[in-house]
């Protein structure tokens, strides 16, 4: 069953096309990352699915059905910002959430414990720090233990400890069989917790599918010698790498993950009469991969 399927969805704000006919589907039990730079349409997409924005074209289904209010009651959602009544406490706010959802009233203490807010549960929301507000929003999404969760930038405003806690929480929820749809501009975050991913850029869907298929891993070997042109010629005779680039006095060789043998490269060059003065293996940086995917 698809938890969410989006069909040719588009959204225009006047002349600006925020979404340009996007289609994908979220399988049950997956942790589905929606990845893209700021302004790529992630929140717009989730806003339409959550019925707060009107689509300009196309449609979507929830649980393989035409979307209705009851569907949203079954989904725990944090969209963009923590939205609460400033003058009410955490408990009073969650009482309202529970009353609207029609479930979870007896679950308030548990979720406050999960997001570490028990100590401050009776303080007004307006006195919370940004991180506490974000944690309360995550707590509200967890209310009533829903099977589907939607998190838009869940680690926004959290400190490193908070980020680690939320990521392990998401993993734990996923292990319990829950479906999690998560929007993020942090590739690292998506890569660490997601099983599936859709990549958006300026309203276009660049790629979608299994994380391991989308992020093909590569290792890069960087080398240099006194005579860089001679090194370049010699390396043309060598086998095994997929791509070669040259810049600023170094040459980069790209290998499929785990297939680099530095000693073999070194002895190959030595046998050809070349002594290397630089040989270094580096993991491809996530940022460069992100740029590659979104450019």
């Amino acid at each position: 069953m698809a938890i969410l399927s989006v069909e040719n969805l588009s959204k225009n704000y006047g002349a600006i096309k925020a979404l340009k006919g996007i289609s994908f589907s979220v399988p049950a039990g997956s942790v589905f990352g929606i990845l893209g730079p700021n302004g790529s349409g992630k929140t717009t997409l989730l806003g339409i699915v959550m019925s707060v924005l009107k689509a300009s074209g196309g449609g979507y289904k929830l649980f393989d059905e035409e979307p209705n209010d009851a569907h949203r009651k079954k989904i725990g959602t944090l969209l963009e910002t923590p939205n609460f009544y400033h003058y009410l406490s955490a408990v009073q706010n969650l009482n309202i959430t529970a009353a609207i959802k029609g479930r979870g009233e007896d679950d308030i203490d548990r979720v406050l414990e999960v997001v570490n807010l028990t100590q401050r549960k009776n303080s007004p929301f307006s006195s919370y720090s940004l991180g506490m507000k974000q944690r309360l929003a995550i707590g509200a999404a967890l209310l009533g233990n829903p099977d589907v969760l939607v998190f838009d930038e869940p680690t926004n405003g959290l400190d490193p400890v908070g980020i680690a806690e939320i990521r392990s929480l998401i993993k734990k929820l996923s292990q319990q069989g829950k479906t999690i749809i998560m929007a993020s501009h942090l590739l690292d975050e998506v890569e660490k917790v997601c099983t599936h991913v859709a990549i958006l850029k300026q309203g276009d869907l660049k790629a979608s599918g299994n994380v391991n298929e989308i992020f093909v891993h590569e290792d890069i070997v960087e080398l240099a010698a006194e005579n860089i042109d001679q090194l370049d010629t010699v390396l043309n005779e060598m086998q095994g790498y997929t791509k070669k680039t040259k810049d600023d006095g170094t040459i980069q060789l790209y290998y499929p993950q785990g297939q680099v043998k530095l000693d073999a490269i070194n002895s190959f060059c030595f046998n050809k009469g070349l002594t290397l003065n630089h040989l270094h293996m580096k993991k491809k940086s996530l940022e460069s991969k992100f740029f590659e995917l979104t450019n």
């Binding site: 806003g47 959550m50 707060v52 924005l53 209010d69 939205n83 609460f84 009544y85 959430t97």
Partner: protein, 274 residues
């Protein structure tokens, strides 16, 4: 609807501005009526003894319904202010979004706000009822429901003020701007209304055409126009120059405007992005 209203109550019962404005309104109603009561007793009463005008008590039974409704009408800006604050809060806290995300339909959201506006109007009307009765009890006159229709007019005025507040809030969304626009509109309409009234008087005196006070046909002045101070000897002297009060026409306008406010607020909220 009952469960929706319960949730609205959860939202406001701990809200300071709600408590303060409610207390202001209740105290204000009692004070305003007391001022009218005491001015009449001490000043007009003194003129009476000089024998210039005949005896008149605005808070005697039958007069009390009209006087209290009229005097209290000036305070209806307070509940309207409360409604603007409550609705625009939802936009600035973005809870209007969150309520929908959590499972309300847009229709439920806007309808419960309108239901709140209606309930507040009913409560204000009840307050008028109690105040009118209590002041009249001191007049020593016999209980009478004559002129009770003015309490109904008060309800229409209160509901109109509150529904304009709902409309302005849904259109403007920002608390300060919404309150500002509400007052500016109220002021602007009053000026236009006065001009129309002068024109109505001229039409009547110069051409013998009596279309009623046309200033009363504007959205907010319609319900204002229904409420007047009871006829008294001083007022009667001026009355001959004024156009006829076509009550039913004005009531018709009030109801048409109310339907428009409801329809437009609902449509606006249902169709726009949150």
């Amino acid at each position: 609807m009952r469960s929706l209203l319960k949730i609205e109550w959860l939202k406001i019962k701990h809200y300071g501005a709600f408590k303060i404005l409610s207390i202001f309104f209740i105290v204000g109603v009692v004070l305003t009526n007391y001022i009218v009561f005491s001015v009449n007793k001490n000043i007009i009463g003194n003129i009476n003894t000089a024998g210039l005008v005949s005896s008149f008590n605005p808070y005697s039974f039958s007069n009390t319904w009209q006087t209290t409704s009229y005097a209290t009408g000036f305070l209806l800006i307070l509940p309207a202010l409360l409604i603007i604050i409550l609705i625009t809060n939802e936009f600035s806290f973005r809870t209007s979004r969150q309520n929908i995300i959590d499972g309300w339909s847009r229709q439920e959201f806007i309808e419960v706000k309108m239901a709140m506006a209606l309930i507040i109007s009913v409560l204000c009307t009840l307050l008028v009822l109690i105040t009118a009765s209590v002041f009249a009890l001191f007049s020593g006159t016999d209980f009478s429901l004559n002129g009770f229709d003015h309490v109904g007019y008060f309800f229409l005025k209160s509901f109109s003020y509150n529904m304009v507040a709902v409309l302005v809030s849904v259109l403007i969304r920002r608390t300060g701007f919404a309150i500002g626009l509400y007052f500016i509109y109220l002021g602007a309409e009053n000026i236009i209304s006065q001009l129309l009234d002068v024109w109505s008087m001229k039409l009547r005196s110069d051409h013998g055409i009596d279309l009623g006070s046309m200033g009363d046909y504007l959205p907010m002045n319609a319900s204002d126009g229904l409420l007047t101070f009871p006829d008294n000897p001083l007022k009667s002297m001026a009355k001959s120059a004024l156009p006829t009060d076509y009550y039913w026409v004005v009531i018709g306008f009030v109801i048409i405007y109310l339907f428009f406010f409801i329809w437009f607020s609902r449509r606006r909220f249902m169709k726009s992005d949150l």
